[in-house]
Amino acid sequence: MGEETKAITLVEAVTQALAHELERDGDVVVFGQDIGANGGVFRATDGLQQRFGSERVLDTPLAETMIAGIAVGMATQGLRPVAEFQFMGFIYPGLDHILNHAARMRNRTRGRLSCPIVYRAPYGGGIHAPEHHSESTEALFAHVPGLRVVVPSSPARAYGLLLAAIRDPDPVLFLEPKRIYRAAKQPVPDNGEALPLDSAFVLREGSDLTMVAWGASVKETLAAAEQLSTEGIQAEVIDPATLKPLDIHSIIDSLEKTRRCVVVHEAARFGGLGAEIAAQIQEYAFDLLEAPVQRVTGYDTVMPYYQLENAYLPGVERILASARIALEYAREGDR
């Protein structure tokens, strides 16, 4: 109220959203490993247990199948569990409950029970973490019918999308790009305004090239777009944010102008979400396309230990190289 809104980081925006919903809705409970007194290993839940009590903000035993599974039981009885996996690399024991139960409870009971759960996990590489701490496997979850998969790329979007995820009547996997947890600050008013879970965000307008990126890769993608801009090329940068269901139409709309597209993600290429986006683009915009959709991705190998992680992750140079291929492509006949 008249007070100036403090600039906060992405991880602080997560905390702010969690606090907002804990305050607003008595059905919200938050749990995971080390999220209580410790406030989470990234401090995403800092202060929440003190403020809302250890009945609503709970440390669990060390068991991810359990974390995923109890959320299902809680949600069927009307709670709104927000469950944290400490790192995405440790989410897999929970997949069975996410895929076989949370994502289909509503469908298999024909609407009788539902699972308004948010599963949160820090994700992605680039922080020099130990093995298994730098995973990007959003594609596995985006393939699961009944689930939503959401990735914020700024403090404001983290806040608005997490509010939306918690209020959503169905399960949402909310992946937090830890490389940008503290990369930038932004004033984020705690106004309780959710962002839509079905619309992409156009982060930069342009008519020469469409660049699609989410999570931490948005940073390098915008940097690449800036670089191109100095060369007189205006790239439109789109962050789908909600990867499932995907707002392909915003991307197609952009292609109406640009006719060329680059998709960027940290995850391995083969079977990554870049494939789905490329497939849909050629389905919906075949006639528009002047060049094959380029994928700039992690390599199809295991995420390396940190010495080599930067060789693995798509950086500005790799994005630029692919952008140039897309921009300079000419059909055989036209060459």
Binding site: G26, V29, E55, T60, P61, A63, T65, M66, A68, G69, I70, A71, V72, G73, M74, A75, T76, Q77, G78, L79, P81, P93, D96, H97, N100, H101, M105, R106, N107, R108, T109, R110, G111, R112, L113, S114, P145, G146, P169, D170, D198, P245, L246, D247, I248
Partner: protein, 371 residues
């Protein structure tokens, strides 16, 4: 050789409970709840379960139902468990639970619909909060822990009476991490949840001894710090006492419990199974000697509480119930194929409209739900 002196750090016992022995004779004074009426009611409910199972297996044989898991010989467990619950408690069943379903008010036509490949069978009309039939083994144990958390949370937030979650499973399920993680959390958080294990000696073809090196299944509760008891699972009174006692303690805020109910699977694993491939005829024959219905029947007749006449009346009554349910089941309209999208999300996101329309148009053309 050196033998060190060890200090005793902790001690644990596993006990066993039985009221009616294999011949249907009492081994001790019956509990108060075991009135003649209650006992006759249990006999009736076990027979109804057996009848539904029998008809379902026959429907499968004639191609009118999919794979079906009968509970033949294990009826006492489901009936006694569900009978010990109140309506507001939440049941988290596995698949072999016809007796418990009936006792919880699930409709026979819902049971048939479910095993007949129709999701509407899981939309229980009379039990809005119970979980659906759970097929991925032991996962329901974790759901039950989550349910129990919610029940405890509601109780502490708005002072409503504490309700209890009850999870059922087979003994094979206790080998799975889910089962252990659920027990462990229940113990750590003192959740109002009761785990009832139908130890029917087989997990499809895998015998109990190959499942785990323990003397009992009950002792697995020790690893979670929760009270555990082994009972004669073919003695409906013993199961009922154990579950009632565990529920009463949970309802009072005293936390979880594990009950191992010893029984025998008199049927094949499911209609898709042929148990003669791995199980001796002799073992099966023996097991028929101590099955739960015969046992309770013997006891009630010895007490003058049951007779051929009563049985005939009951047979007629149950047959009518069954036929009426079959009629209702058979007269249901098939679901339109588009139903596969209708409950995917609370609201179908726009991204799926195109597929929805495609499916609808396809169905309009073929009119045969794809078949």
């Amino acid at each position: 050789m050196h033998k060190p002196r060890l200090q005793l750090q902790a001690s644990f016992d596993i006990a066993y409970l039985q009221y009616l022995d294999k011949q249907g004779q009492t081994t001790q004074t019956l509990p108060e709840f075991a009135t003649p009426d209650w006992l006759s009611y249990c006999l009736r409910q076990m027979q109804l379960a057996r009848l539904v199972d029998d008809r379902a297996v026959k429907l499968q044989r004639t191609g009118r139902l999919g794979t079906y898991p009968s509970s033949l010989g294990q009826e006492a467990i489901g009936v006694a468990t569900a009978n010990a619950m109140i309506g507001e408690d939440i049941y988290c069943p596995y698949y072999r639970e016809t007796g418990a379903f009936l006792e919880r008010g699930v409709l026979i036509e819902e049971i048939l619909a479910n095993w007949g490949g129709d999701e509407r069978g899981q939309n229980f009309q009379h039990q809005p909060g119970d979980l659906p039939v759970c097929i991925p083994i032991a996962t329901q144990a974790l759901h039950a822990a989550g349910v129990a958390f919610a029940l405890k949370y509601r109780h502490s937030q708005d002072g409503r009476p504490l309700q209890v979650a009850v999870a059922s499973s087979g003994e094979g399920a206790t080998s799975k991490g889910d089962f252990y993680e659920a027990m462990n959390l229940a113990g750590a958080w003192q959740l109002p949840v009761v785990f009832v294990v139908n130890n029917n000696q087989w997990a499809i073809s895998v015998p109990r001894h190959a499942q785990t090196g323990t003397q009992t299944i009950a002792q697995k509760g020790i690893a979670a710090g929760i009270p555990a008891l082994q009972v004669d699972g073919n003695d409906v009174i013993a199961v009922a006492w154990a579950v009632r006692d565990a529920i009463a303690r949970a309802r009072q805020g005293d936390g979880p419990a594990l009950i191992e109910a010893m029984t025998y699977r008199l049927c094949d694993h499911t209609t898709a199974d042929d148990a003669s491939r791995y199980r001796s005829a002799r073992e099966l024959e023996d097991a028929w000697q101590w099955e739960p219905i015969k046992r309770l029947d013997s006891y009630l007749r010895a007490q003058g509480l049951w007779s051929d006449a009563k049985q005939q009346d009951l047979d007629r009554e149950l047959a009518q119930i069954m036929e009426a349910a079959l009629d209702r089941w058979e007269s249901r309209d098939p679901e339109p194929a588009t139903a596969i999208f209708d409950h995917l999300y609370a609201q179908l996101p726009a991204a799926f409209y195109e597929q929805y329309d495609q499916l609808r148009d396809e169905q309009a053309q073929t009119g045969n739900r794809g078949e």
